[in-house]
Subunit: 221 residues, 2 copies
DNA sequence: CAATCCCTTACAGATTTCCGTAAGGGATTG
DNA sequence: CAATCCCTTACGGAAATCTGTAAGGGATTG
């Protein structure tokens, strides 16, 4: 079994649950937990340089923003950074996200080894995932089937992201800037304009106020 | 200290972390965890009827939907149900939500005793919260200031009327015209501007999009 | 290969929002 | 009565929204 495992997860209580399970059910010797992507990466790099690398990284995808400016702010970035240091380290993602469309790229692009969808029995799942990954197999939460990734939504993930930001008071200019910073494309103000305008037609809204109100009332936001 | 505590939280790993903390740091004798609102309520009711009631309920607000149809699907509903059985049981909510506008009603309407915002150090907070609540005080995560929403400045009919129109996509010019036609005063565009701006401050909204979204989510629109 | 479609982007103009300043009127108070 | 406060209203400027036009690129098709 793995001897050195690093956990990045910003919910302290969740974190504690994972550590406990790993200790008691897998007898892993060294378990380090970090609450921030940055510190997690630093610890990873340090251990690698010392010649005592971590063998497995368990990370969430989303980390709450803090007042402190951080270089790494998402699990995705952390994985990229880690991959840049050590190609061979196993990675298991443990997140709430259950959209196959978002998870698939993690395997194809980020080369992760396992995905556990946070939920009622995720702790058991995580233990299974670690077993599988240790034996060089991949693991995916059984309750989500990555095959049926193409459910026809009226609003795709991109639209939803924009609408959520708008509903939180961000301007299209700010949203455009954010998308650029996160290397998400398309990201021009013009395209955002177009996307939202199309939603006006689809949902029969007069303007953004109206659209936001409708979507929230429909539970889609 | 409390002797019987019930935890409702659908993330098994989070759950585990809480249980662990409660056991080791508070020496609570009986800790029951449930992953569903329904089963949590059943357990609560059963214990109450037996004359061995729970003294404290710790619950999340949102629970993932499942294929199984459930009578209770949110923490709010669970709290209501519990309150219907035992008025005296303490309730602490442990959730990701950090919008004071959503949290305040929990105290005023649901009569909860504590609120802990899930985050990096929420486990420590939860322990503090339990201490406070045990001594008949209320607890609120310090990082979110309920003051912004604490002066629950009731929106009057006039504000409500304007906001509803805005949410339906009317411009302030149109609203002003309508008010004039209906002989409702004040009715100038300028006054409408001012009224809405004041609501930005009161509800901590960045702009109209934000304000509408907040109010609808709070059920005030 | 050319025609076509679709998506992204830039840009421009009209409208709307947002925010500050300021004037006027009514009510209250010392 | 004067001073003050609050509410309404007008106005102006900066920023944002909304809409239309147009150019360019990639993918598809015949």
């Amino acid at each position: 079994m793995f001897k050195k495992v690093l956990i990045a997860e910003d919910f302290q209580d969740t974190n504690k649950g994972i550590v406990d399970a790993l200790e008691t059910r897998l007898q892993i010797e060294t378990i380090q937990e970090e609450l921030y992507c940055d510190t997690a990466f630093n610890r990873f790099k340090l251990a690698y340089d010392k010649g005592e690398p971590f063998e497995l990284l368990i990370t969430d995808l989303s980390f709450k923003e803090t007042h402190v400016k951080r270089r790494l702010t998402s699990g995705k970035e952390l994985i990229d950074a880690v991959r840049g240091v050590d190609e061979n380290c196993k990675v298991i993602v443990n997140s709430m996200i259950d959209d196959p469309g978002e998870i698939n790229p993690l395997f194809t692009d980020q080369k992760i080894n396992g995905y556990v969808c946070k939920g009622r029995y995720s702790l058991n799942e995580l233990v299974n995932a670690i077993h599988e990954v240790y034996q060089n197999r991949t693991y995916v939460s059984p309750n989500l089937n990555l095959n049926a990734a193409n459910a026809v939504h009226e609003m795709d993930k991109y639209d939803l992201m924009i609408l959520k930001d708008l509903a939180e008071g961000y301007t299209k200019k700010e949203i455009s800037a954010r998308l650029k910073k996160q290397n998400i494309s398309p990201n021009s103000e013009s395209t955002i304009d177009k996307k939202v305008s199309r939603l006006f037609d689809e949902f029969g809204a007069k303007n953004t106020h109206h659209l936001i109100a409708k979507l929230i009332k429909q539970g889609k936001l």
